[in-house]
Symmetry: C2
Subunit: 110 residues, 2 copies
DNA sequence: CGCATCGGTAACTACACGCTAACGTACGGA
DNA sequence: TCCGTACGTTAGCGTGTAGTTACCGATGCG
């Protein structure tokens, strides 16, 4: 997961991932979509592959890359745990607020 | 979102975020949970605050930090778009496989 | 075979990043 | 008022990372 998180920290890599999300693409094809050189894209693809966020398929001299969404599983779970936690916390706050309201009523009563 | 993604790339920052997920904590309190110095934690907290992943509440000399899950919204949506995309792709592949199976049956018939 | 194309790797540069040490500031208690 | 505590900020240092150019092997085609 650490590798996945670090890989996604780079805007270029996120964009690459989006490009190969629904269809496989070659390196040159991908590189043409960016203002940086092809070797730079190659290095980004290596990072993504090491993080298991993409898969490769060789065909002759060409290499087709494709996103591998399962690689994002851990990270997604981690993020979702925050949402559920947020809901739990919200419930607690509502409870406390109700408690405070009751106290205020008491004060008003005094 | 770029800021959030970069902030989460750091293991220490992810851990900090988990620490202040359900309850607010002071800087010294947080720093004691890590092998690094307090200023280092201060810097991490600054990054998290800039990414709007935490909020601060001052009380005297102490500053209480707390996670702000809404800051992860964009990133979560981005990740989830991959899951739905993955499902769509899977559906397409199943379809194609069924098509191939039908072709095989034809060949067998020949 | 000769040559172009595709893509990975190496060496190097520039910059971002994380950490520490040192300092400054603000609040609180004696 | 003096001192301790709680934090933030800065300078400096070492390391990591993204980019480039140059070069390499492998494949496809005449």
């Amino acid at each position: 997961m650490d590798a996945a998180a670090r890989a996604l920290a780079e805007p270029t890599r996120r964009e690459i991932l989006r490009l190969v999300r629904d269809e496989e693409r070659t390196v040159t094809d991908i590189a043409q979509q960016f203002p940086v050189s092809r070797p730079a894209i190659s290095q980004h693809l290596r990072v993504l592959a090491d993080a298991e966020l993409v898969t490769v398929r060789s065909e002759g001299t060409r290499r087709f890359y494709r996103a591998r969404p399962e690689g994002l599983a851990e990270l997604t779970e981690w993020l979702e745990s925050f949402w559920t936690s947020s809901l739990r916390r919200l419930a607690i706050e509502v409870e406390r607020e109700q408690w405070n309201n009751r106290k205020h009523e008491k004060v008003d009563d005094d």
